[in-house]
């Protein structure tokens, strides 16, 4: 099963909603691997941000490391600007439990102390397990546990809905 979402239009909406919150000179943007980085590349250009784009791979920060171990493919995190005192726009594709965002924020704080973090996601699918909410979400859904929403890309970006039945 798949749904008919226009990712380009959704990205346009994200950029429009972010613009009032962002000082392009000062703000830093960080995408979370993999989907968040794809989206952040587009948003970074659309918003005309002056600081180079940052990216984080949260594998070493996952709270389920002792249950499932290391992700088979780990990419290097790189934040090429000073985090201290800066407004950070954190970008991810799908907000679900909130655990990825928590891990990403933990990692960002190991680089420095930002003034503010704004969370921008393509989809907030519901099912949060932590008190973490998106400031900007192009799409807000109330998906069930059996529905999996995934961003495919990078070119073209496609948002897929897959129903795998109830979780074991």
């Amino acid at each position: 099963m798949s749904a008919d979402w226009d990712v380009t239009a959704l990205l346009g909406g994200m950029a429009r909603d972010l613009r009032p919150h962002v000082d392009p000179e000062q703000a830093g943007m960080i995408g979370i691997f993999t989907g968040g980085v794809w989206l952040a590349r587009a948003l970074h250009g659309a918003l005309g941000l002056q600081q180079p784009l940052g990216q984080v791979d949260i594998s070493f920060y996952r709270d389920d490391f002792s249950q499932i171990g290391l992700h088979p493919e780990v990419r290097a995190s790189a934040i090429p600007f000073d985090v201290d005192g800066r407004d950070i726009i954190l970008v991810d594709d799908v907000l679900y439990t909130g655990r990825t965002i928590r891990a990403a924020m933990n990692e960002i704080f190991d680089y420095g102390r930002p003034a503010r973090i704004i969370l921008a996601v393509l989809v907030d699918r519901g099912g949060h397990e932590l008190p973490i909410a998106a400031d900007i979400a192009a799409l807000r859904l109330n998906a069930t546990a059996g529905e999996h929403i995934k961003l495919r890309g990078p070119d073209p970006l496609r948002l897929e809905l897959e129903v795998r039945g109830p979780q074991p």
């Binding site: 920060y61 002792s66 499932i68 171990g69 290391l70 992700h71 290097a76 933990n106």
Partner: protein, 332 residues
Amino acid sequence: MSPSTFRFGEGNLQYDAQGRLRHLLSIEGLRERELLQILDTAESFLSIANRSVKKTPTLRGRTIVNLFFENSTRTRSTFELAAKRLSADVLNIAVSTSSASKGESLIDTVDNLMAMQVDGFVIRHPDAGAAHLIARHLRESALVVNAGDGQHAHPTQALLDVFTIRRLAGPIENRVVAIIGDVLHSRVARSQIHALSILGCPEIRVIGPRTLVPEDLTALGVHVYHDLQAGLQGVDVICALRLQRERMESHRLPSLDEFYRRFGLTPTRLQWAAPDALVLHPGPMNRGVEIASEVADGPQAVILQQVSHGLAIRMAVLTLLAGAVGGGDEHA
């Protein structure tokens, strides 16, 4: 026992029942897949050294024991720092302060530490097979990393060497690598040769006197040279080995001076290799024996980068082994 006929017990202790790497005992027997995963993970850990907080929470709550029955500064301190940067707690046990001198067996020592609920052992021991013995005893209850066992293996040294070659000299698949010195007795050289061949190095040369580099080393798939000039011709990477003084006592070498005259890496001889060939050395160096100070401190030497890389490699190894628990690939 000759190193080339050395065999360790049943099966491959390094993998668990699900085929995941649980212990790192030797490079021999590893798949290319795991080697590449360790190297790629180490790339991610390299950048952490440049952050304001040089730590990740990955191994928070775990305890790693450094069990060293042989002296080592570099290996022990990089393993300690690697575990600490992963937020693990570290217990350092050196032979001089251990009960080994009181006659306690290796297994008894390990069992006592296991009773303190530790999660992993990094072990250096003068006897080949010591890390295997512990891994066979512990099975999957704790991870074991071999930090050097006798003349057998030193896998993390070889990993940091191939990591250094890959980062600074380019793809191993088209680089000619020469190892100079006492290859016969060197656990570093044996591990290097295995790592380079698994990663597809097209030509591995070993260079040294007949007593330390015997012809039958060709069984390992290497090219043997007893003449430094011939051996260095067209070489992209030179790995010098530390010459152990004990070798002269066993009459395999007339003198250190004699070795330096024939095989010491001097600026003039370095020119026999390819231009800009990299010079690696596992440390500690004998300046004026296997390597001249001008080369050790020169622009082609990457000996200090090897140390930084060793830290990242050891973080990657501990992370991968500690992560081989639970139920597989459920990555949401």
